[in-house]
């Protein structure tokens, strides 16, 4: 069936490929590009393990056709910080024990990036609603909420320092 040539930017690099109509974006990212930090959990847009940033918004890549991402700018967990460094969110998840098994963490971090972009100073409740589409079966969420709070504080400090 239909094949399509797509070109998109992923973690700052331009990628071109020929894809089938029905190829899901998460499979393209994991299998064609070998970026396996983006996980597949429920495969039904419930759990958020496959969350990536597409044109500045968090989306669930298991429910998005690869062909629709033609021309898009994508960030996966591999691209949230320079190699060898950690973003504020990554550091905060480390500091606050925001993960146990780590399966949900890439999705949690990408989702939290979008959350903090639209709401740099969220309340605890706003954080909990903000990550409501990302399931964690280990932490009980409390440490994830603390992680997002720490990152928000650090990002605010950095912003203040740069003004």
């Amino acid at each position: 069936m239909g094949k399509h040539n797509i070109t998109l930017t992923i973690n700052g690099e331009s990628v071109s490929a020929e894809v089938e109509s029905r190829l899901l974006l998460v499979h393209f990212i994991r299998e064609n590009l070998d970026l396996t930090g983006t996980h597949i959990g429920c495969d039904t847009s419930n759990c958020g393990a496959c969350t990536i940033m597409l044109d500045g918004k968090s989306i669930k890549s298991c429910t998005y056709l690869a062909v629709r991402a033609d021309g898009a700018e994508i960030t996966t967990i591999e691209g949230v910080a320079e190699p060898g460094t950690n973003s504020h969110l990554q550091k905060a998840f480390h500091d606050q024990h925001g993960l146990h098994c780590g399966f949900c963490t890439p999705g949690m971090i990408i989702r939290s990036m979008d959350l903090l972009k639209t709401n740099p100073n969220p309340t605890e409740e706003e954080i909990r609603w903000g990550i409501s589409g990302n399931l964690c079966r280990c932490t009980g969420y409390n440490n994830i909420v603390k992680s997002v709070q720490q990152a928000a504080t650090e990002m605010a400090k950095e912003k203040e320092a740069s003004v």
């Binding site: 069936m1 109509s21 029905r22 847009s45 968090s58 669930k60 998005y64 609603w129 409501s132 589409g133």
Partner: protein, 289 residues
């Protein structure tokens, strides 16, 4: 899960979409956000031969008041609606619903047009549109048509749209002074489809008499449902606790829920009664502000 084979087509205008849909015939489906259709395709509940991607059509994403109407472009995402200042200020019922719809990442992609055109009584927007007496504007082979919401939902996943019609705009009567609306759904877990949901829109005159009332129910019937008998009880009346209790009772009697994983029929009828009363009170409170 991978959908069955299909051919993907991208279009950049409504006319192009209509022409392509006509050419490809009934096995073609439009996709906007795809967050209702693609999950069904992955489960093989839907196996269209062709997908026409209308999400790249420009100019169909907007929220504005014009004349007597609030106009929302069909491709406006739920996130865009959630953060819109006009909707927050004058149409809080929309925020009530969006907050409870799926989760932020899904709302980043899902559109209002898709939510309505999908024709699913489990989706949240249909009940709101019934309550607010919206009009659905679509373009098709025979031009532009305006479909009153009461004529829009025909059956299980069936709407008044012809296969090649593209839903382009939702029109809602502009919020009047002393009007208010509210929506809630009971859900097993955050982001779930409604166990039951109720949307209420009410308009009062200066003496507090109910001039117009709309009540829509979510996921307690095969087709999104207007609670006509409940509306009749309140229209032209000064709204009292007694009347509100009557409407709650009527809602629990007239809805048509089925027992499923989300609850038994009796449980659903009971919560419809309760949340109908709650939403009437909340809408009234907003109308009186």
């Amino acid at each position: 899960m991978i959908p069955a084979n299909f051919n993907y087509h991208k279009v950049s205008s409504v006319n192009e979409a209509i022409a392509l849909s006509q050419k490809l015939g009934e096995e073609a489906k439009y996709m906007s956000g795809g967050h209702s259709l693609l999950p069904m395709m992955k489960l093989r509940f839907a196996t269209p031969e062709h997908i026409i991607d209308i999400s790249k059509i420009e100019g169909l994403s907007y929220i504005k008041e014009e004349g007597d109407l609030l106009k929302i472009g069909a491709m406006t995402t739920q996130t865009e609606m959630e953060h819109n200042a006009l909707l927050k200020e004058k149409y809080p019922i929309l925020g009530d619903a969006i907050w409870l719809t799926a989760d932020p990442s899904v709302r980043n992609v899902g559109t209002i047009g898709g939510n309505i055109a999908h024709g699913d009584a489990a989706n949240d927007q249909p009940a709101l549109m019934l309550a607010m007496r919206a009009t659905v504007v679509a373009e098709g082979t025979d031009g532009t048509k305006s479909i009153p919401i009461d004529e829009f939902f025909h059956g299980f996943y069936m709407t008044a749209l012809e296969p090649s019609d593209v839903l382009i705009e939702i029109q809602i009567p502009k919020a009047k002074k002393s009007s208010g609306g509210a929506y809630v759904k009971i859900e097993r877990k955050v982001g779930d489809y409604a166990t039951a949901g109720v949307a209420v829109h009410i308009e009062l005159d200066d003496s507090g008499v109910c001039q117009q009332i709309g009540i829509g129910l979510t996921n307690v019937s095969a087709v999104p449902m207007r609670l006509e008998r409940g509306e009749e009880i309140l229209r032209g009346q000064k709204v009292t606790d007694d009347l509100i209790a009557q409407v709650g009772q009527v809602a629990s009697e007239d809805c048509e829920p089925e027992s499923d994983l989300r609850g038994s029929e009796a449980y659903k009828r009971s919560i419809v009664n309760t949340i109908t009363k709650r939403m009437l009170n909340k809408a009234l409170e907003r109308a009186r502000q």
